[in-house]
Amino acid sequence: MTTSSIAKPTIWSRLPLLRELKQSVGWQRGMLVAGLVIIAIFLLTAAFAQGLAPFGYSQLSDENGVFGAQLPPGGRHLLGTTVGGYDVLSRVIWGAQTAVLVIVIAVALSVFAGVILGLVSGYFGGWLDRVLVVVADAVYAFPSLLLAIVMSIVISGGRSGLFTGLMAAAISITVVFIPQYFRVIRSETVRMKSEAFVESAKVIGASNARVMFRHVLRNSTRTLPLILTLNASEAILTLAGLGFLGFGIEPTAAAEWGFDLNKSISDVAAGIWWTSIFPGTAIVLVVLGITLVGESLNDLADPRLRTRHRALASGAGVSDVDELEEDL
């Protein structure tokens, strides 16, 4: 072992995304950077919606009077107005906030439940494991949108405000996603359980809880970032789908891209394109951004999929192969 090859990693290189960014090369780096940029814009928009949006999400008039419905882009309304008389640009910007909320709530709820259940189920096995697997498979069979509709009706009787609409989407997404985390963590746990280092912890005399949380859990969470990103995009789609079907959030409670799309259906036939294109593009971009990051993280985590710079044939700056054991 040459000492140079094991320089202590700095704080920066250990931060999750930055480390991957540094590792990446070429095409994979492009994907990752593009995804990160889109997500950054998305998050910043959500955070500073108040300052960025020219009007409020439920604003229909200002000091110059009522906006007017279906105004084409230009003038006071950069992206025009909707059939309800809202400013499209403001609705798109405020919509980012709703989207971030639903992602955070849905992912936070499902990730904890899924990971704990998967860990316990995989580690102990037996009848508990079998029951949980069957339940997880049954939930898999449930379409998330249908579940979301049921939830939305249960929580708010169909029409909903910001909180109830968010919760309906988030809970239905949670229920559908828990099995995914459960399955992934469980299979990793089962694999880890037979690893020698888990057995070596057992022969030391470590308790089950210690083995599970100190040795198994941290080694089983490698694929979590990928599922997290994929589920985040799915969460947005579900919320948009709910809004599109009319179970979304009232325009007076919050801006929501799916709801706006729903209201723009009739506009499309009338040649009014701006009411549907912009919220639609917002959905596509955010989903694309998150998926790009997820996919590149997946590729980078796997040494076999990760691309590297080609080695220099001349071998300039080639580090030596490990020293002999005896030279220690």
Partner: protein
């Protein structure tokens, strides 16, 4: 295909350089290697892991991954494998050069019959009808010594034993009659007795097919048994190349000498064992720590299938301060016994008493306090450490678990002492397991096992994953520590020579039964059971002249002609 005559040059490598792009920068794995192999000759490339021997072998067939950059020349016939087109490369593979892989169970596709897999190679290189291909497959299976080949050509890989699978892999390599056979550690995954048969088969390939064989191995015994010429690789370079007899009797390079000195051989431990026996006799205390009586361990079968009896009525005993060596081939139940003593596998019959507690039907909760007095060293040091914890944290685990320390930092001074005891620098405690070499990791593993000064240590093939040179150091350390700490030990190994170095008594296990037990001298000099005799005779010694004699002896014991001579 074979147009070359015996003695013609089949392979020529000139100034080969292979560089890999890795996360840690470029690594030059092979650095200016020049070699040549003639027809009817076995060239062995020897070296430890990381010396570049496997990379060299893979270059011959153009099997390197995309991250590799190659320069130099690898000539098979008139083709330079480096830089030849993909389609030409496919033609060369199989007919020009074929490969025998290390692990026969993964080199065969489990969902196709072996006959189909042999025919696959034929179809890739010419027109054969189904019947012709099948006939040829049967022919070659017979020739490599698969009995009843007409029927077994339709068998799937899992229906063959490990040794037979390797024979089939060799048949696949032979069927296109290549100029060169590259055998990458062809016997490493096999038991010693099977290894001897496969080596016979490879020797027969050389003589019968006039093939040029490139043998990649780290086992000097295998080299002595088979090789005509030997090239020793170290850090990507060839440091010495010579005829086998010359190399073994008059090694020139410092590294070669060290490599040869590190090979354990039977009889080396006898003197030490006598000394230790005398020492123990004066100490007088001989309380039995582990007593097994008629021990039976069965693995539950699946539905409709009976259970599998891994250990079948075994009696043995380990006294305080005594090292018992447990020897046997894979599947003999030796690891199962070790795991049972550590409470990892439940026993199903008979009696096993560990530190005074009966293990039949024991509950984990009642056994857990006893774990302080039992240390365990696992076979593969690469996987026996939690990759996310530092070495110091891993070694501190026993202290924390048994309440001797609050956290890793509090145990640090004791961890440092342990690391020193196993001859690792203190600073290594802050490293992560993957930053240590195999030998260093196994030392850290030993440090963890002796952390609480156990009365009993179980070592399950602790050196089988290590290079010979490293193995010698670890074994030495083990003996030293055993003397210093005075624990009793169960030392499990498949290698008689290794056990001989350490064990006071040796027990030989065969198919779950204990066939022979006694002090090392008796077992190794005058084995009584035929299996022990065969085991002993199969062990190749690092001396070509002596090994040739031993081979004769083994053939006499087996009572058959050299394998493969049935065709």
């Amino acid at each position: 295909m074979s147009t070359l005559m015996k003695g013609d040059e089949a392979l020529e490598i000139d100034n080969l350089v292979v560089t890999f792009a890795t996360d840690g920068g470029d690594v030059r794995a092979v650095d200016g290697v020049s070699l040549s192999v003639r027809k009817g000759e076995v060239l062995a490339i020897v070296g430890e892991s990381g010396s570049g021997k496997t990379v060299t072998a893979k270059t011959i067939l153009g099997l390197l991954p995309e991250t590799a950059t190659t320069s130099g020349m690898v000539m098979i016939g008139d083709d330079n494998v480096i830089g030849v087109s993909g389609s030409r490369l496919r033609e060369i593979r199989g007919t020009g050069a074929a490969m025998v892989f290390q692990e026969p169970s993964t080199a065969l596709n489990p969902v196709f019959t072996v006959g189909w897999q042999i025919a696959e190679g034929l179809r890739a290189h010419g027109k054969y009808t189904r019947a012709q291909a099948r006939a040829k497959a049967i022919d070659f299976l017979t020739r490599v010594g698969i009995p009843d080949a007409e029927h077994r050509v339709d068998y799937y890989p899992h229906q063959f034993s490990g040794g037979q699978k390797q024979r089939i892999v060799i048949a696949m390599a032979l069927v296109l009659e290549p100029e060169i056979i590259v055998a990458d550690e062809p016997t490493t995954a096999l038991d010693v007795t099977v290894q001897a048969e496969i080596l016979d088969l490879l020797r027969w390939c050389r003589d019968e097919f006039n093939a040029a064989i490139v043998l990649i191995t780290h086992n000097m015994g295998v080299v002595a048994d088979l090789a005509d010429r030997v090239a020793v690789m170290y850090q990507g370079k060839i440091v010495e190349e010579a005829e086998a007899v010359t190399l073994f009797h008059h090694p020139k390079h410092e590294y070669t000498k060290r490599l040869l000195a590190a090979v354990p051989f039977i009889g080396a431990g006898t003197i030490k064992t006598r000394e230790r026996a005398a020492e123990r006799a004066t100490a007088a205390s001989s309380e039995a720590l582990v007593v097994a009586k008629d021990l039976v361990i069965e693995y539950q079968g699946h539905l409709g299938r009976g259970s599998f009896r891994a250990v079948d009525g075994v009696d043995f005993q380990i006294s305080a301060r005594e090292v018992l060596g447990l020897v046997g081939e894979s599947g003999s139940g030796k690891t199962t016994i070790g795991r049972a003593i550590a409470g990892l596998t439940k026993i199903t019959g008979g009696s096993l008493s560990v530190l005074g507690r009966e293990m039949l039907g024991v509950r984990e909760r009642t056994f857990r306090p006893l774990r302080q007095d039992i240390g365990f060293v696992f076979q593969d040091p690469a996987t026996s450490f939690n990759p996310l914890l530092t070495i110091a944290q891993c070694v501190a685990e026993p202290f924390i678990v048994h309440g001797h320390a609050g956290d890793a930092a509090a145990a640090r001074s004791r961890v440092d002492e342990l690391l020193e005891a196993v001859q690792l620098p203190k600073s290594y405690g802050d490293r992560f397991p993957h930053e240590l070499s195999g030998g260093q990791r196994q030392r850290a593993s030993l440090a963890r096992a002796i952390a609480l000064k156990p009365k009993l240590l179980i070592a399950d093939e602790p050196t089988s994953a290590l290079d010979v040179s490293v193995q010698a150091r670890v074994l030495e350390l083990f003996a030293e520590i055993q003397r210093e700490f005075g624990f009793a030990a169960l030392f499990i190994s498949h290698d008689l020579a290794v056990v001989d170095l350490l064990a006071d008594r040796i027990a030989v296990l065969y198919k779950g039964r204990l066939v022979e037990e006694g002090i090392g001298e008796d077992i190794l000099v005058a084995p009584k059971h035929p299996y022990t005799q065969r085991l002993l005779a199969s062990l190749p010694v690092p001396d070509p002249v002596l090994q040739a004699k031993r081979r004769e002896e083994l053939h006499r014991l087996r009572g058959l002609e050299p394998a493969g001579a049935t065709g």
